[in-house]
């Protein structure tokens, strides 16, 4: 397959008000193949939006370059931008204009006009199922409807490549499902290449042909889901929510040594949240174990004997969350 996006050593450094610098993206290399959905998965602040902003020409890289369909985004930005559509995380639409007026305006910016513009706008309004609301102002739409118009605006020029930056943030499950189905449809029916950023592991797992996991401005792992989960082996992950008791190093050590199949134990103590720290999150014990279900009774017994109050237990097959946890020691939601 042909490479649609090829980024090399992309780096972005920002200057803080006090004169110090912060490196938001630290030399990212990326290859996205034509016709695939590639997801950048990582927690908030990992550098996903900055990376996508550099690849789309919104932000100039401090170092490095990216080629879109063979055109450099820094040296041939016009040619590169003609090949891509962009769906930003924010609702980048004029709230005072109707859905149709917004799409018509951005369509004109792509050089469309007359009947071809009108036809394309009609198609997209049908595609996102908003033809009946086309004359209503955007500021009267629900969050999900705004997201759909936002997506349609990125498809006006029928691009072979589309960037979607967390397109399901802040919407109801029904609208989210509709957007995820639309993304798959774009790949499967229109052979479109999609660069998708998300902090939700489930979305990345459902949509992606390949995933790049980002943390602290770096891609720490990249590959298909199978390739990535292989990195953490065949281990199951047991998520055990506990009471406020502290799980000490001694207990963790004894679990690792004495329970068959247990390879690693991580403990996240409870965190104070809410006003004045009035509430706290439950403590979480993550146990990596081969044949987790077999090891579970002994794990519960050990914790019980140590006086740890067990609130819930979940056994999870190897997934991207486990990969992230294994690579960073933190859960994606952290």
């Amino acid at each position: 397959m042909q490479t649609m996006v090829e980024a090399r050593n992309l780096r972005k450094t920002y200057k803080r008000a006090d004169g110090s610098t912060i490196e938001a993206v630290k030399g990212v290399d990326l290859d996205i193949l034509q016709g695939e959905i590639f997801s950048l998965l990582g927690p908030n602040g990992a550098g996903k939006t900055t990376t996508i902003s550099m690849i789309s020409g919104l932000v100039a890289p401090t170092e490095g370059d990216a080629e879109i369909g063979g055109y450099s985004i820094t040296r041939q930005p016009m040619e590169a931008k003609r090949l891509m559509g962009f769906v930003p995380q924010e609702i980048a639409l004029y709230p005072e204009l109707s859905a149709r007026q917004n799409l018509s305006f951005f369509g004109r910016m792509y050089g469309l006009g007359g009947k071809s513009l009108s036809r394309r706008v009609d198609e997209l309004l049908e595609f996102v199922d908003l033809a009946d609301r086309q004359s209503d102002r955007i500021d009267t739409f629900s969050g999900g409807m705004k997201r759909r118009v936002n997506l349609a605006a990125g498809l006006l020029n029928s691009p072979p490549l589309i960037y979607m930056d967390e397109p399901t943030v802040g919407i109801d499950p029904q609208s989210r499902r509709r957007i995820l189905d639309t993304v798959k449809m774009l790949r499967d029916e229109q052979d479109m290449t999609v660069l998708y950023t998300t902090h939700l592991m489930e979305e990345a797992q459902e949509l992606s042909n390949r995933v790049g996991i980002m943390d602290h401005g770096e891609i720490i792992a990249m590959g298909t889901q199978a390739e990535l989960t292989q990195q953490v082996g065949e281990e199951d992950r047991l998520e055990i929510m506990t009471g406020a008791q502290n799980v000490g190093e001694a207990l963790i050590g004894s679990m690792q040594q004495e329970i068959a199949g247990v390879t690693r134990v991580l403990f996240n103590p409870p965190e104070q949240i809410g006003d004045n720290g009035s509430e706290s999150t439950p403590a979480r014990l993550t146990v990596f174990a081969k044949r987790g279900r077999t090891a579970l009774p002994q794990i519960i017994q050990t914790l019980d004997a140590a006086g740890i109050d067990i609130q819930s237990v979940e056994v999870r097959e190897p997934d991207l969350e486990a990969v992230f946890l294994a690579l960073t020691g933190r859960a994606l939601r952290d």
Binding site: G57, L58, F86, F105
Partner: protein, 422 residues
């Protein structure tokens, strides 16, 4: 170019979709221009400006009365106090007698434009062809004679000429009676003859074009005088509301960044120069529309536009460009819409009066005129005055346009360098 025009039209559509903007662009400026135009017309255009002048006539002669009459005729804007005081006590005498000390104090404090004191013996001195001194008290700069002094000078020039003619005639009469055998003239006949000569000379000099011409009223004398008010209020309110409208762009640019429509434009196949050019074009267009609206109101009330429309247009364009540049220079530093709105009010309501948008700078002290020229409004108003009040042409306003364009260039360099696209 097509993309730039499309962005400009789209932004104008968004601007006009908000009722508040239309009120700010149309209703308030129009109302204020009309109200202030009428008000200024009543003060400055409903007839000649009234200038309060105290008059002390210590001579009380026919000749001094004649001088007063000449003075009144020379400039009907002068209200001579107390003889011309009206029922509303325009002279502010408050039924108190006006003596010399009080009149001097009133002139010194600025409560009157001037004090003219005709000394005792004025008529006798004129009859004897002697020099007589009329005292003139005023706070105004003697190097820049105001309307009262100009009028007085004109009258005194005529009086002196008439007196001189009388003197020459007297000498001629003496020569004639000595050279030719004529019956001796008695004193009364002689005085009557010479006075007739004096009055005739005075009359002739009065009908001759005056040496000094002072007019407050507009040239269009058959109008009610409203024109004068709009000649000041339309450019003034136009400049003020151009600032309100164009500087308001700071908040819009911030909002565009925050709602990511600016970033979406950046992701389109458009250059930064095209996007920036379009955004500058939007605010330049809005500023020009604002000027046209206010000037249209002035036109409806018979405002004078001078005789050089291209120069007027160039002045408007230079001012709007300067304010647009100021908007782009400040926009990158704005952190919230509240901050932007506060700054719009602060700048508009300080730069406009400072620059003479609300009243002519001529009436403020000299140091304030100097400070006022820190405001671009002052340069624009200077140019508008040259064109509208004094019927100037392009050449007269080139310096003002050059200053506005230079300021625009500097501000654009700052604005374009620091413009935030994300």
């Amino acid at each position: 170019m097509r993309s730039i025009l499309t962005i400009i039209l789209n932004d104008l559509k968004i601007y006009s979709s908000q009722r508040g903007n239309l009120v700010g662009l149309l209703v308030i400026p129009v109302l204020l221009t009309v109200v202030i135009g009428w008000s200024l017309g009543r003060i400055g255009g409903g007839g000649p400006t009234r200038l309060r002048v105290d008059l002390i006539d210590l001579d009380g002669s026919d000749m001094s009365a004649q001088l007063i009459e000449e003075l009144r005729a020379a400039n009907d804007a002068l209200v001579l106090c107390p003889p011309d005081n009206d029922a509303d006590d325009y002279c502010r005498l408050e039924d108190e007698p006006l003596d010399m000390d009080r009149a001097i104090e009133r002139a010194r404090s600025g409560r009157t434009s001037a004090l003219i004191a005709i000394p005792a013996g004025y008529a006798a001195a004129l009859n004897d062809f002697q020099t007589v001194t009329i005292d003139y008290y005023s706070r105004s700069d003697p190097m820049q004679p105001g309307p009262v002094l100009q009028s007085l000078n004109a009258v005194l020039q005529r009086t002196s000429s008439a007196s001189m003619t009388k003197g020459v005639s007297s000498a001629l009469l003496d020569n004639l009676t000595n050279a030719v055998t004529l019956p001796a003239l008695d004193g009364e006949t002689r005085d009557s003859f010479l006075n007739t000569i004096y009055h005739r000379a005075l009359q002739l000099s009065t009908y001759q074009p005056p040496a000094v011409l002072f007019r407050v009223v507009d040239a269009n004398e058959d109008e009610s005088g409203i024109d004068n008010g709009f000649n000041q209020s339309a450019p003034g309110m136009g400049s003020l509301y151009v600032m309100f409208t164009v500087l308001g762009g700071m908040a819009v640019l911030l909002r565009e960044r925050r709602q990511w429509t600016l970033q979406r434009l950046m992701a389109l196949p458009l250059s930064r120069a095209q996007i920036l050019g379009a955004k500058i074009g939007v605010y330049f267009t809005l500023g020009m529309i604002q000027f046209f609206i206010v000037f249209a109101v002035g036109a409806a009330f018979g405002m004078d536009f001078g005789s050089s429309p291209p120069a007027l247009l160039a002045t408007m364009a230079a001012f709007v460009l300067c304010i647009t540049a100021l908007t782009f220079a400040l926009a990158p530093w704005i952190k919230s819409e509240g901050q932007a709105n506060g700054l719009v009010l602060l700048l508009s309501l300080s730069l406009a009066p400072l620059g003479g948008a609300w009243w002519p700078l001529e009436i403020v002290p000299e140091f304030m005129q100097t400070i006022g020229h820190l405001s671009p409004v002052a340069w624009a108003m200077d140019a508008f005055q040259d064109l509208i009040w004094y019927d100037g042409g392009f050449t007269e306003v080139i310096p003002e346009i050059a200053v506005l364009m230079a300021a625009a260039a500097v501000l654009f360099i700052i604005g374009i360098r620091s413009f935030k696209y994300d």
